[in-house]
Symmetry: C2
Subunit: 319 residues, 2 copies
């Protein structure tokens, strides 16, 4: 006996209400959606999928899973200077899930629709013999020709980052039990940063026309800066002492200075890493280094100006 109602019922009960604010979604009652950028604008399209047991834990609250699936995509749009407008979601569900899971998942989407002013405009619901799998495709809008590329940095540009770095990676360590004796509030803050990204949507909208290049920090600060360097055919030098840390991350590092590598390479920050001309005034972000005219590569300097040896640059899903 399947616990879930039919596909049409699921859409009608839980997903059609999420499409109400977007006329071109036709209430999810047609086969496709219509979307057009405002005059003088272009659409920026991004897709990213998350899988239970790979990107989240099977017993994570469904509201959080929904918001994470959406937010990792919104983070990319923000880093490209795009204002998010709409998204589609393909939901692959094991038959063992119950309707309450879907209801909570849809509630999570609804909360983030309010928070980020985006609308569901399409999707697909399927039964899978595998784990819960969620593919999101998000659409944002930029003035024509103004998407912020990875490839636009120039030698001498200052490197900036939004927010704080390393919280999510330390949060994952805490959740794994690798940080025994950690203050519960500190652990809770860090775990929250891992569980629920905070895409820098408002910042992203301000960066169009200001940043020369940008990328969101998902693979880790060093790895993503490496991607930006490679695309821009430049090198980067980062002063680790200037990398912004939350009070919680500072507390962890005070006791475990060896975790600086985890902070700089751990990933899941969902902050925006960007470059701008060194003389640009009023740049909203923390300067952490500079771009240099060398073929590629990221050098991280410690407080004494010595090169920090990092065990790994970041991670990819294979292997």
């Amino acid at each position: 006996m399947p616990l879930l109602p039919g596909e049409f019922e699921l859409i009608e009960r839980y997903f059609a209400p999420l499409a109400r604010g977007f006329p071109g979604a036709y209430g999810l009652r047609d086969d496709a959606a219509v979307i057009a950028p405002a005059p003088g604008h272009e659409l920026v399209a991004k897709t990213d999928a998350i899988i239970a047991g790979v990107h989240f834990l099977p017993d994570d609250p469904p509201e959080l899973v929904a918001r994470k699936a959406l937010r990792v995509n919104l983070s990319d749009l923000a880093a490209k200077g795009a204002i998010p407008r709409a998204y589609m979601v393909d939901l692959m569900l094991p038959r063992t899930l119950d309707e309450a899971w879907v209801a909570a998942f849809a509630r999570g989407l609804a909360e983030d629709q309010d928070e980020y002013a985006v609308h569901l405009i399409g999707g697909d619901t399927d039964s899978t013999p595998g784990p819960v799998t969620i593919a999101v495709m998000a659409f944002g809008e930029v003035p024509a020709g103004r998407m912020i590329r990875r490839a636009g940095a120039r030698a001498g540009d200052t490197i900036y980052v939004s927010g704080t770095i390393g919280d999510a990676a330390l949060g994952l360590e805490a959740l794994r039990g690798a940080l025994p004796g950690l203050d519960a509030r500190v652990a809770g803050f860090l775990a929250g940063r891992y569980r629920l990204p905070q895409p820098r949507v408002a910042l992203g909208a301000r960066l169009a026309g200001l940043a020369s290049a940008a990328i969101d920090v998902s693979d880790g600060l060093v790895a993503d800066l490496g991607h930006l360097c490679e695309a821009s055919r430049l090198a980067a030098v980062v002063e680790s002492s200037r990398v912004p840390l939350s009070p919680a991350a500072q507390a962890v590092l005070a006791a475990r200075p060896d975790l600086i590598g985890t902070v700089l390479t751990g990933g899941d920050d969902y902050e925006i890493l960007f470059t701008a001309p060194a003389q640009a005034p009023g740049v909203p972000g923390t300067p952490i280094g500079r771009m240099e005219a060398a073929p590629a590569g990221v050098t991280v300097l410690d407080r004494q100006g010595q090169r920090l040896a990092l065990a790994r640059a970041g991670w990819s899903h294979f292997p």
Copy 2:
């Protein structure tokens, strides 16, 4: 030991070449793609996912799997009157797959890119503990305000369908061994219709401005006509003797007239079912019935004008 190379290598080797023809894809070397409709046009967006063991067999040739994943989406765009332009693909792969599978999958996409003039503009590659799962999002273009809706039919409109109906459903029966003694060429034709949809992209482009309503036939002729009726708040009467059949389907039905229900409700046809005013000249399709001013419902009449009793209207993925 994973058999697959890393995510970046997979993209560089197999997927980046598929993005060459679309400047806004930036060679898949950025975090998002830029897409804008031509002046006076809108984008039509559609997503559909397929899962091994649910929508295709795990040992199906990867080229075919790729083409099917793409084509089910192109079929929806065609039924909406949109000209396909680009697509994204999220590829969730078990670690047991080898690189040859991915290479063949990408070859399948390349073939269809040539056939349908579409370009890969983004995607995501992940390792999954579950079955191969492929989510495709496709983008097409229509003149502004001209997407063909499900909801536009009027009472008195003629109902048309493209191509032939029932081949795929009979092909699946043949593949299951349920049609013993079937001529091998007939079985091969029908199985081919099941395995590889032929989205009616050229026809779709002609229907904008001509069809009053349309839907692609994926759940089955009767079920999809039911969806169109519901959206248009009308009823439909279909004369089963006018439903276009391939010579192969005719041969099967001659021996097994009881399979008419499978033909009319079986699904996976990927033809376009549409309506147009009764007096419209030169409509490209086979007229099979008419829309009527009743609340909803599809009536199928047999050769004698008697109502055909059908065991099921169509299928959905749950339950």
